[in-house]
Symmetry: C2
Subunit: 224 residues, 2 copies
């Protein structure tokens, strides 16, 4: 190992990549951890309105946070991928947390983390970047409020492929309903958008419906 900087739990290219773990921090963190815990798809990990005692670290699978409205509609606000830490910064959960695919999640005591961050500058910086990055993502999402379904989906795909370790082949481990609820249109529209993109050669699907092979994105004129 030597002087090489080892990283703390990095399943893919997620947020936690940024947290260097010297031994002291690593052991201090492990004292605050519970888990890993397995959740089956669609199972609720935490409810809206609860006190947020834990911060989450996704080990595998995909986790979604969503807002459910009184009329039964739902909006998916964010997806968290392996390596992502989230749930920091809220005393009360503003959104429910659910498994969007079978997922393994680590729980970390929020208060303990806060205490640790008071003395450990590295951790404090890391937590700040976690929130900032999430804010950035939310802003981009919010800014996409007036673009077409096609462009919205392409933006999503681009982001997803980047986050899940860019390659020309993307595996959507989550259901279409989740994607549609995230992008703000319905599942039929999503299906049609994908079909159209397929026909126009932007992407192709071999074998499993969930596996998309991407052509040249940039070739497609989109808003940004």
């Amino acid at each position: 190992m030597g002087a090489a900087v080892t990283k703390y739990r990095v399943p893919v290219g997620g947020l936690c990549t940024d947290l260097p773990s010297e031994h002291s921090l690593k052991s201090a963190l492990s004292a605050l951890q519970r888990g890993p815990i397995r959740f089956m798809r669609d199972h609720v990990i935490a409810c809206e309105g609860e006190s947020a005692d834990y911060v989450f670290l996704v080990m595998s699978g995909v986790v979604r946070s969503c807002k459910t409205f009184q009329n039964g509609e739902r909006a998916v606000v964010a997806f968290y991928l392996p390596g992502d830490m989230f749930g920091w910064g809220d005393e009360i959960r503003p959104l429910s947390i659910e498994a969007a695919s079978d997922a393994v999640v680590m729980l970390i005591k929020r208060k303990g983390l806060a205490t640790l961050a008071e003395t450990n500058t590295q951790l404090a910086t890391f937590l700040r970047t976690v929130v900032t990055r999430e804010l950035e993502r939310a802003r981009v999402h919010a800014a996409s409020i007036n673009i077409s379904a096609k462009d919205r989906f392409l933006t999503f795909l681009k982001d997803w492929s980047k986050r899940s370790g860019a390659s020309s082949t993307v595996y959507l481990s989550i259901g279409y309903q989740d994607i549609a609820d995230y992008l703000g249109f319905n599942i039929e529209t999503l299906s049609r958008v994908i079909t159209r993109l397929q026909k126009s050669g932007v992407l192709s699907r071999t074998g499993s419906r969930r596996t998309l092979r991407l052509g040249d994105f940039m070739a497609v004129r989109s808003r940004n």
Copy 2:
């Protein structure tokens, strides 16, 4: 003054309400400040892509942050009202900052603030809540991606009236175009929505078009 907790610059019920200013902090902060600076409506305060040397504190008027796309379209991502501090947490400005009405803004050196926050827990906590609150707002905005123009506008109005010091009369100091670009529909639709709400008695406009008198919001069935 005695034991009474004085607050730092609180034009209305904005974010800065939360920052208690003992003398030491106050003077340390004032050393980092530049301003107040006046900006006329639509003037650019900071550009996307620039290094973010300053954090902003709105003294009066309204400031918007927006993303401009290559095709000339624009999305307003957030509005900042008197008392709001923003721009913390980004090394590089992800969005341009512009005056949505004539506005007076205070500039605070970001690096200095960061240094100060390292030793001052109160300030650190405050900065964290600033970012968290902004994230919360962005999430709500993003979650509104699939609701009707009417509901989106009502949600906006509710939030705006709360932020600008709730009363049954709301003064929109910004143009319709800005509101439309924030809500993600065009100005004609916004105008029609308002007209319809007027006809259905949810709100009325006396004198200036910019002044809305609100009826009972809760009576209107909306999604949340």
